[in-house]
Symmetry: C2
Subunit: 268 residues, 2 copies
């Protein structure tokens, strides 16, 4: 008689680091919730298929909101020992079809590594399509602003926000962070044709911080506010002093950095 | 008694030049046909709304195939005299909703100008996503090739195709052009991360020429063919000597050039 397969409970597990790309459009966000399907649902359901149907819990570097995209999200989960990195990547991708979520790279997770708490730097890109006509090719991946924006003035205003500050003016009411102090390392605004790109980098962000920064800079861009007002908005430490939250569509998590790069030896 | 509105027949018409962006995914191509909805259908149906419901015929610089995208297609049509450029653009965009087609710019068409026959240069971009994982963010806008491609070798092979040649080896059987002779001005292959971009420029192209060039260069990229074979394929003047046609998904018409730029005074 053939030996029975090992039961899930008795099997050793190995932790994996995953580099994820997803289109946030159809999802309620990263996090599992009752309201609809999440990126976490899609990934964990696929992982369960590699674990004899038993649940698998994934953790993530940045819990993106509904509609927010990722080109370089990093997640972690454990699977029964024995898979190669290539098998993990390809099998998860197979089981996540047809959802717009892809494991670009898989690598053994470094000892004691956590995708969220080990991260030392996060980079987001925010895209604004600045023209009268609505987007056709980039639909769902840009914030469409029809009024002409002065990207140079937006960039100038953005530079007054760099460094370590109390970002309460740019923090969502629902933000669960203990402190509103963050260090903003980069906030560059540049235009290429109709497309304005905002490159944002920091060790970590408050909830809605990037979208609130962009929504506020837009008021400088269309001339409603002078460049100098942004420093006053920051100093107010009051959410109502800043501009509205920019659309989720334009936001994409580009890169998460760790002291030891989990994917250094991986090939796409 | 108020005068009746002028009947369409008695009304003078003004010709317009339109810069169009579209996602080719949901369409049977530019050209109207029975099989499904075309970009031409969407544009002409919107234009008819500005012409008392009477039909409007549009002509175009490049009759893109099913699934092919455009960021800089140029079309022409005539509308009853009296609209401003801004009204033409905004009204057509309003009536084309929710189809992924947008009039980015509208301008009065120059005297005697024809979007197809006046064009002196056309630029296409072809994108290949070269990694194991299928596309999530760029789904439908790239050709997914999982096998590793050497973009440097593809570029080297591409350079042997530049200049004036008989491109019969890269011409679709259905091509209606009188001559297979074309002058290829640019065929650059470059890689940025997982994305390989092919930039292609010529005065005009044969049917499927760009996709057949890319499908053939891919065989050099994955090592099946040596770089030197491409010159032999060209010399064969035989479609069966070249590689397969690359997916429509990766192709985008970027720019059409005219001796007098119709949109020089337009603002987006």
């Amino acid at each position: 008689m053939a030996p029975a397969s090992p039961s899930p409970a008795s099997q050793p597990f190995s932790p994996w680091a995953l580099l994820l790309e997803y289109n946030g459009g159809p999802f309620v966000g990263w996090q599992r919730q009752d309201a609809g399907i999440s990126v976490q649902d899609v990934l964990e359901n696929a992982a369960a298929r590699l674990n004899h149907g038993a649940p698998v819990a994934a953790t993530v570097a940045g819990r993106t909101d509904s509609g927010v995209h990722a080109a370089g999200q990093v997640a972690s989960l454990s699977l029964p020992t024995g898979f190669t990195a290539r098998q993990v990547r390809d099998a998860l991708n197979f089981h996540m079809k047809p959802h717009p979520v892809a494991v670009v790279l898989a690598a053994p997770a470094p000892e004691g590594w956590n995708p969220r708490f080990s991260a030392i730097h996060r980079a987001y890109r925010y895209q604004i399509l600045n023209r009268r006509a609505r987007p056709a090719l980039l639909e769902g991946q840009v914030w469409h602003v029809a009024a002409p924006l002065d990207a140079g003035k937006m960039h100038e205003a953005a530079q007054t926000l760099l460094g370590r500050h109390d970002f309460s003016s740019f923090r969502a009411a629902a933000c669960q962070a203990k402190s509103p102090i963050r260090t903003l390392d980069r906030l560059d605004v540049s235009r290429l044709g109709d497309l304005i790109t905002v490159a944002v980098e920091a060790r970590s962000f408050l909830h809605h911080q990037v979208r609130n920064l962009v929504g506020t800079l837009r008021l400088v861009g269309d001339g409603k506010w002078p460049v100098e007002k942004i420093a006053q908005v920051l100093a107010a430490k009051d959410r109502s002093a800043a501009g509205p939250t920019a659309s989720a569509d334009g936001l994409c998590l580009i890169r998460v950095t760790y002291p030891v790069e989990p994917f250094a030896d991986s090939s796409p």
